[in-house]
């Protein structure tokens, strides 16, 4: 599959997922689930952009490792706040 075909397909997928996420937001999930669903859609879209548009699929371990370090750091920052959150919700 050529790069142009991939970009065409991915463009259509990204638009579809965006519209799907807007539609899903109308389903009135609970607060926690709404955040999780919204983040799930966003993570899928960001992963597609990174893997295909930013060509992470062609990169070596240095670049992929750098991105993973960034994602890991953000997860640590989020998870680090969880204990405080648990105390607040009691």
């Amino acid at each position: 599959m050529s790069e142009k075909s991939i970009s065409n397909t991915l463009f259509a997928v990204l638009i579809a997922v965006t519209l799907l996420s807007v539609a899903a937001s109308r389903l009135h999930f609970g607060r926690e689930l709404a955040v999780a669903v919204a983040l799930g859609f966003a993570a899928v879209k960001a992963a597609l952009i990174g893997w295909f548009f930013m060509r992470l699929r062609h990169e070596g371990w240095i670049v992929r490792g750098a991105v993973l370090v960034g994602i890991f750091a953000v997860v640590v920052m989020a998870v680090g706040i969880l204990p405080d959150l648990a105390i607040q919700l009691k």
């Binding site: 955040v35 966003a42 706040i81 959150l85």
Partner: protein, 208 residues
Amino acid sequence: MSSTAVAHHANEPTDIGRYGMWFFILSEIMLFGAFIAAYIMLRWGSTVCALGAPAWPQAGYLGGLTLATVNTLLLITSSFTMVRAVLASEEKNAVAFRRFMGATLLLGLGFLAVKIFEYYLKIHHGYYPRSEFMEATPGLNIFISFYFVLTGFHGLHVLIGVLWNYFLFKRGHGALDERFGRKVEYAGLYWHFVDAVWVFMFPLFYLI
């Protein structure tokens, strides 16, 4: 690009520029990630900062969602045109490059115009930190502070991207060389990153 060509490409000394760009993006992931992680946890755990539709009870909410959806479509489309601009520069096709980079520029400017209009609407409806309306609802005050800091900072990144793209657009005529192609590739990485950040901000500020 074949896998052999890519593997060869990845070992070239000139890739130091691409590595530099990726490490810059790493620092940006941490910067935006810190704000977004704090915001997510605030939204997840706070009963005071219970937001989403209730946070935008007036006309500004519906207008904001529509404008943000338009902006999301603009940025995704601009990422697509940027991919095509990068491919055109690699093929040394100046005409196609200027066409797609020109489209990317216009879409980026469109995003900024919509964002400025949205700010105008928000401020007009009293959605700004420490306004009388905000002071009456402390949770909303926290939310709107996050909103302006994150969207403002993101908007600044879009503006820098637009200027960068404009610089390349102006120089992208005649015979394109590999050096120019690399510059376009770096600008493309930055532009896609800005798009990926918005992909997270859109649902977090407008859909939940």
